[in-house]
Amino acid sequence: MTLSVRIIACLDVTDGRVVKGVNFTDLVDAGDPVEMASLYGSEGVDELTFLDISASSAGRDTTLDVVRRTAEQVFIPLTVGGGIRSVEDVNQLLRAGADKVSINTAALKRPELISEIVDRFGSQVLVLSVDARRARTESGFEVTTHGGRESSGVDAIEWVEKACALGVGEILLNSMDADGTRAGYDIGMISAVRSVSKVPLIASGGAGALSDFAAALDAGADALLAASVFHFGIHRIGDVKSYLSAAGYSIRTLNNS
């Protein structure tokens, strides 16, 4: 057997509630994060990601509590991202029960943060979150910030190469063009990032049809993240896994243990 493809459910959390909107605006309340995490865990999701989009520090404290309560009940890997600016932020999240953290804007502003986190906690805790869109940069993909609203002027492929050299353990590639559209992952972007990185690659943004998941794997993704298609019950975790299994991909099945 080989390493299974990972199916990851992402929960956008603000003030202790799960939200997910099309292209990060127009938020719709979709439930309690701890309950949803537990449900996805029992349905066989391979990993969970919480993205904290709280604007306030009170909201962030609530997130720490959500992480704590989730880690007490759900015994699968949990990644937390959003608003992480320092080694101490990472420390707090890991102590609350997160297994990995994802960083984005803070690393763009100060790339040394990557090596600081890796030196203290190891590469395996650090996911580089890249919110990218098609643009007229050298590779044709640029990095955005603030949930895709602002251009960073940084070429996405150059950024991935640099971050890998600094020691990130994994890349979460989110297409801001495709995010929330359910029109399919950005396949060209996945291939471009795969070709310059040797760390695991999580594809995110645009999952709609079951065939979209397979297309992202064929382009080189190791893991597939989705949010709204799961939250609104368009696909259950098991549907995606059955589809991929039938198509010949290695997936983790839940047996009766």
Binding site: T2, A71, I76, A96, G97, F121, Q124, K198, D222
Partner: protein
Amino acid sequence: MIAILDYGSGNLRSAQRAFATTGHEVEITSDLDVALKADGLVVPGVGAFAACMDGINKISAAEVIRERTRAGKPTIGICIGMQILFSDGLEHGNHKGIGIWQGEVSQLDAPILPHMGWNTVEITGPTQLFKGIEKESFYFVHSYAAKKSVGTSQAWTTHGEKFLSAAEDGPLCATQFHPEKSGRAGLTLIANWSDRL
């Protein structure tokens, strides 16, 4: 009582919660006396081999693990906590491990590293740990591993190459994967381990 050895290696809450599902009292400790006397000892570990060994050496815990093994008291190493039971670690140089098991821990020869995610095991020898969960998947996060057989029962996994993903050697057990992060299969493995306490 199950003791989880705290030597500065990352988040231990998940391990504490997972081992507590067995019904045993679980204590996170860096007190060597508590670690020595506990019914079961868990040696966790994240980060680099050398950093973990520094942590172990700082609280002089290697002798406690050896002493427990001589006395037949159950100890389980997890992830880097498995790797440091070996004599040599080749991550960023050549570092001495605790050395209960002779052998090297070296980088996996695989196109994508770390080996991150769920993978299956192939068991050799009579296993207690994997009773009822031989066909299950477990959660791995690592780039280095041991590749030779130790103990009386072994689990093998392939990522680029075949490596030792678990070993049982009398009172001493170890898993390269994280049972505390491997869902129900992982909790079953933990329960199997705690059955001997």
